[in-house]
C-alpha cells in the first residue's frame, strides 16, 4: 500500500517538475543555511574549547593572599606565604592528579650572538602534566634535578626561534640565563595563543629549586608565587577544593574565624563561561538559519494548497472508486514529505559543501557534526508533515460528489 502510494506521489511530482523543484529549493536553502550556520557556530565553539584545553583541565590555582604593609594592602599574591612544602602536602591529598608550584620571573637569555628577554618559570615536572604540555624533543628534568637545583632548562618554541633561528636543534646546547650557563634538556611543543592573547610559547621552564636558589632568590625560604593543582576529574573538584582549604588553613595555622592568607581559584568556572558564550552564539546562528527553513516550509504548504485545488477532480475520482479520507490524506502528506526530505538531502550536501568552501576560502573553523545532519533531517520531515498536513486534510475532507463535479 505505502509503496503504491509512494509511486503515485512520485508520479504526481513528476507531472509538474519545475514547480516541484522550486518548492524543493525553499527546503534546500533552508537546510543548507542551518547546516552551514551550525558548522560555523560549532567551529567557533571548538576553537574556544581548544583554547581552554590548552590551559589544562580541572585546574585550581592556589595563590598567596595579600599583605598589609604600613597601611598599604598589597593585593593577592603579594604575601610570600606559599611554599614548596605546601605543594608537597597538597600532593598527598586524595583525588589529585598533579601539582605544580611555580616561581616565575623575567630574565635575559643569551645564546651565541642572540639574546632574548622572556618569562622564566621555576616549577616541577608536574607542570607539564597540569598544563597538558608535551615535549617536542628532548626530555623533561628529573626529580634529581629538583633536589640538587641543577642549571637545566626547557625552551618554548618562540624562545627557540629567537635564540637559535630555524633549523638548529637546541637540545644539549648551553644557553646563558642571567649570565649563568643552563643546559637545554628539551623543547616544548607549540601551544599558541592563550585566551587573553599571550604567546604561551614565549616561556622557559627551569626546576623550581634552581629558580629559587640560583636565579631569582626568595623573600622567604622555599616560597613560590602560586601552586597549580589538577584534580583527577571534574566531579572531584568540589571535594578537592574543600580538602585543600582545610589543609592550607591548618598548615598556615589560621585561627577559626580568621581570613585565609591564600586564595584558591577554580579555572573551570571561567572556562565554562567562555564555552557557554560560544554555545549561545552557535545556537543563535542556528535559530536565524531556522527562519529560512520555516519559510521553505510555508512554500511547501502554499504549493500543496494549489496542488490540492488543481487536483480536486482527481481526488473526486479516487474517492468514487473507494479511496477513504485517510488514503487521500496520506497521498498528499507523502508528497509534502518527499519534497521536504529530498530538499533536505540536497540541502545537507550543499550545506556541508558550503562549510568546506568557507573553511577553504577564509580559514574559519567549521565543524559538521552528525547530530546537526540528523537534526536537519528530523526538522525537514517535521516541516513536511506540519505544512503538508493542512492541505492534505483539506483534500481528504472533500465530499466525493463535490470533488467529482469540480471543473
Amino acid at each position: 500500500m505505502i509503496r503504491a502510494m509512494l509511486g503515485e506521489a512520485w508520479m504526481a511530482m513528476g507531472a509538474n517538475r519545475l514547480r516541484t523543484l522550486l518548492t524543493m529549493l525553499g527546503m534546500v536553502i533552508g537546510v543548507s543555511a542551518v547546516i552551514l550556520m551550525l558548522a560555523i557556530g560549532q567551529g567557533a565553539q571548538q576553537r574556544v574549547q581548544e583554547s581552554i584545553a590548552s590551559m589544562g583541565s580541572n585546574l585550581f590555582i592556589v595563590l598567596s593572599g595579600s599583605v598589609t604593609s604600613g597601611g598599604l594592602r598589597m593585593g593577592g599574591g603579594a604575601a610570600a606565604s606559599l611554599t614548596l612544602a605546601d605543594a608537597q602536602a597538597i600532593e598527598e591529598l586524595p583525588s589529585i592528579a598533579a601539582v605544580a608550584p611555580s616561581a616565575p620571573g623575567t630574565a635575559q637569555l643569551v645564546y651565541g650572538a642572540s639574546n632574548w628577554s622572556t618569562q622564566v618559570i621555576g616549577t616541577t615536572p608536574g607542570y607539564l602534566t597540569v598544563r597538558d604540555w608535551r615535549l617536542e624533543s628532548g626530555s623533561a628534568f628529573a626529580d634529581s634535578d629538583l633536589r640538587s637545583a641543577t642549571r637545566v632548562a626547557l625552551l618554548g618554541k618562540t624562545v627557540v626561534r629567537n635564540l637559535f633561528g630555524e633549523g638548529d636543534d637546541p637540545v644539549g646546547k648551553t644557553i646563558r640565563i642571567r649570565n649563568s650557563p643552563y643546559v637545554v634538556l628539551g623543547v616544548l611543543a607549540s601551544k599558541g595563543q592563550s585566551l587573553d592573547g599571550r604567546d604561551q610559547d614565549d616561556t622557559v621552564i627551569v626546576p623550581v629549586t634552581t629558580a629559587q636558589r640560583k636565579l631569582f632568590g626568595t623573600r622567604v625560604a622555599g616560597s613560590v608565587r602560586m601552586i597549580m593543582v589538577q584534580a583527577e576529574s571534574a566531579e572531584a573538584m568540589p571535594s578537592v577544593e574543600k580538602a585543600m582549604t582545610d589543609l592550607m588553613r591548618q598548615r598556615h595555622r589560621i585561627r577559626e574565624g580568621a581570613d585565609d592568607d591564600f586564595t584558591i581559584r577554580n579555572l573551570t568556572a571561567a572556562a565554562d563561561a567562555a564555552e557557554e558564550t560560544a554555545k549561545v552564539m552557535s545556537l543563535m546562528l542556528g535559530a536565524i538559519a531556522s527562519v529560512s527553513l520555516l519559510v521553505g516550509g510555508i512554500g511547501i504548504m502554499n504549493i500543496m494548497l494549489v496542488s490540492v485545488t488543481e487536483r480536486t477532480r482527481e481526488i473526486g475520482i479516487r474517492m468514487a472508486i473507494g479511496a477513504r479520507g485517510r488514503d487521500i490524506l496520506l497521498q498528499f502528506l507523502l508528497e509534502a514529505i518527499i519534497i521536504s526530505v529530498i530538499g533536505c538531502l540536497i540541502g545537507v550536501l550543499l550545506g556541508v559543501g558550503g562549510a568546506l568552501a568557507v573553511n577553504r576560502l577564509s580559514g574559519t573553523a567549521v565543524v559538521v557534526t552528525p547530530s546537526s545532519i540528523v537534526m536537519a533531517f528530523a526538522v525537514a520531515a517535521a516541516v513536511g508533515i506540519f505544512f503538508g498536513w493542512y492541505p492534505a486534510r483539506k483534500a481528504a475532507s472533500m465530499k466525493p460528489i463535490d470533488a467529482l463535479r469540480y471543473q
Partner: protein, 244 residues
C-alpha cells in the same frame, strides 16, 4: 441470476434538496424504487429531472436529505465516510459519462487503482488489471495513457476499472453520452454481456431511447418524481424492431 431475487437497491421515500443562496431547491420528491439482483434498469428523464442526483445517491457519492436507502439490505443513511468509501470500493462499480480516468497514469494503472485502496498486493494488482483489460478488448494497450486512445476505448478502460473489484452492481451515468453511435452500441453490448452472462446488476442513466433499449426495465423521472416504472418494451414500443 434470476429476476425477482434479493433486493440490491431499495429506496423508500427518498427526498433530496440542494441548499442555494436563493433557498433550498428540491430535486427528488420522495422517490421509492427497488432493484433486484440481476436486473438491467435504464433511468431516463429530461435534464434537471434528478436522474443524476439519484444515481449519485445510489452510488454512495452523495447523501439524501431524508428517506432511506438500503444497499444489499444495509441502511446506507447511517454509514460514515469510511464505510461509504468501502461500499464504493467493494460493492459498486461506477462508470461516468466523462470516463474520469487519471490522465497521468497508464491504462493498466488506472484499472488497478481501486485495488490499491483495497490493499491488494502489487503483483496481483497488475495481473488482475491486465485480465480485466483483456476482457474489455484492450489487452494490447496496457501502457498507453488515456489521451493516446479513443473515447470508446477510454470508456472500456473505465468499465474495466469498475469491474476489477468484482462488484455485483454497476452504476453507469450516461456512459455513452460522449461517444458516437457505433461506439455506443459496442459499449452497450459489453454491458448486456456483463448482465446476461455474468449476472451483474446494472443501473444505467441515459436520455437516448436507443441506449435504454438494451435494458429490460425502465424508470422514467420527471421533476423529481417517478412517472413510469415498468418494462422497456412497453414504454418504447417504436424502438422494439431495432433490437433483437
Amino acid at each position: 441470476m434470476a429476476h425477482g431475487g434479493d433486493a440490491v437497491i431499495r429506496i423508500e421515500n427518498l427526498y433530496k434538496e440542494y441548499v442555494t443562496d436563493a433557498g433550498p431547491v428540491p430535486v427528488l420528491h420522495g422517490i421509492s424504487v427497488t432493484v433486484h439482483a440481476g436486473e438491467f434498469v435504464a433511468v431516463m428523464g429530461p435534464s434537471g429531472s434528478g436522474k443524476s442526483t439519484l444515481m449519485n445517491i445510489v452510488g454512495c457519492l452523495d447523501t439524501a436529505t431524508s428517506g432511506s436507502y438500503f444497499l444489499n439490505g444495509r441502511d446506507v443513511g447511517h454509514l460514515d465516510r469510511d464505510e461509504l468509501a468501502h461500499l464504493r470500493n467493494q460493492v459498486i462499480g461506477f462508470v461516468f459519462q466523462g470516463f474520469n480516468l487519471l490522465p497521468r497514469a497508464s491504462i493498466a494503472d488506472n484499472v488497478a487503482l481501486p485495488l490499491i485502496y483495497r490493499g491488494t498486493a502489487g503483483g496481483e494488482r497488475a495481473e488482475r488489471a491486465k485480465d480485466m483489460l483483456v476482457k474489455v478488448g484492450l489487452g494490447e494497450r496496457l501502457n498507453n495513457r488515456p489521451n493516446q486512445i479513443s473515447g470508446g476505448q477510454q470508456q472500456r478502460v473505465a468499465i474495466a476499472r469498475a469491474l476489477v473489484t468484482d462488484p455485483r452492481l454497476i452504476l453507469a451515468d450516461e456512459p455513452t453520452g460522449n461517444l458516437d453511435t457505433h461506439t455506443s452500441q459496442e459499449i452497450m453490448t459489453l454491458f448486456s454481456e456483463l448482465n446476461g452472462r455474468d449476472g451483474i446488476t446494472i443501473v444505467l442513466v441515459t436520455h437516448e431511447p436507443d441506449i435504454a433499449q438494451y435494458a429490460q426495465r425502465l424508470v422514467r423521472l420527471t421533476d423529481g418524481n417517478i412517472v413510469y416504472d415498468g418494462p422497456v418494451a412497453e414504454a418504447l414500443p417504436h424502438h422494439l424492431e431495432r433490437t433483437t
